[in-house]
Symmetry: C2
Subunit: 228 residues, 2 copies
Amino acid sequence: MARTRDALTHDRVLQAALTLADAEGLDALTMRRLGTALGVEAMSLYRHVPNKEALLDAMVDVIVHDWIDDEAALKADWRARIAAIMHRAHATLLARPWAVELVTIRPRAGDGRLRYAETITTALLEAGFTPQLAHHGLHIVDGTIMGFTAQQARRPTAAALGDSVQALYNGDLAGDYPGISVTIREHHDHAEEYSLMVDLVIDGLARLRDGHLPPRTGSGASYARSLV
Amino acid sequence: MARTRDALTHDRVLQAALTLADAEGLDALTMRRLGTALGVEAMSLYRHVPNKEALLDAMVDVIVHDWIDDEAALKADWRARIAAIMHRAHATLLARPWAVELVTIRPRAGDGRLRYAETITTALLEAGFTPQLAHHGLHIVDGTIMGFTAQQARRPTAAALGDSVQALYNGDLAGDYPGISVTIREHHDHAEEYSLMVDLVIDGLARLRDGHLPPRTGSGASYARSLV
DNA sequence: CGGTGTATGCTTACGCCGTAAACTATGTCA
DNA sequence: TGACATAGTTTACGGCGTAAGCATACACCG
């Protein structure tokens, strides 16, 4: 049945997978359902994708690549460049909350992820960071994107978040948790908060580059030891 | 068969789940295998746990609670207090890499997580942060823990990381990715890098409290728009 | 001491999942 | 025309989470 028309391709499978995940979440992305979405049996997909893992990795790569897909922004000053990537990543992930899980966990690096890392690294190197500090910087930027976004993407599901959080809003637990009972009602603009963090991180990087070491609190080794 | 001896309890199930995940990873944690580990059929577990999701949530709560389980450290100066929590969290998660996936994704907040949030929040409030800033601060700290740790926990699996990273080390891709080809060989001490980030974040928080706003790069709204 | 109610764990079964293996139908080119 | 490669199908297997109903053994009461 090698029809020429409507032939399946790796890319059609990949796009359909993204669409399905967008529409119904990651749990709905099964090989059978993906097949159905493409009008095809599940096993047919295996002609174009070695296994589901590889498909997920490819999805990650598409998403991460998108973060640096803005030529205009990438010509600016290093701060603006990195800010652009961070904001784009944030927006992408909030639009596709299911992707957070994939992006934060999957280790396999395809071209998209490498290019993303490359873009940040060269921005830092060109801005006068030492290779060592650029390396740290990449991890700092990457970690900030993942951590912040994971956390904010976690929130929207707050409808089904657990009674405790409801109770907190009602002030019912003010005795047990006085601090968060106060702060939980604070005005909360995700974008604004993220923006603050982005600028804080970029400013921190600049200060590091210029030799302003933050006051050290300790190496952490003692805390690690206290776990045993 | 309500034996008095060796009776199953919620806590025994929970502990066994943690042990199994520690020993063989999260994929190995199935209800059947967990039952076997406890010398019991899978369905017996459901007398003590409503479903697997709830078990995973309970595991998360144990882990997060552990982050603030250090009374000595929690009496110190606010910087040291937050640093202690962050380092403890990092150490815990690196020791239990499988937990990263759970902790970063699961939204349901039990007592452990609430108490963790409470501890950080009150530390900040006591240190003179406004409720608004304390709220941001909690998210900043939490995001940093998750993001950084997820990333570092991702690395160790680098053995099975993909040929591209191997190639990078060999310098084979220096043409395509000149920046990371240079920086990837940088000396890399996870603990030291994390320490740097912790201090950078805490210093950033202090500066925020004291009114030193970092130079703003933009609200991010434009990048969000550029996605459409 | 014997009977009974109830908590605890077991058995069976269902509908999902990812995917291995073998098969069939199609289009290509000699 | 006929052989071959390619694309999609069929069938099947072992594993998953868990619903439903059953069996057992203890705790308590008379």
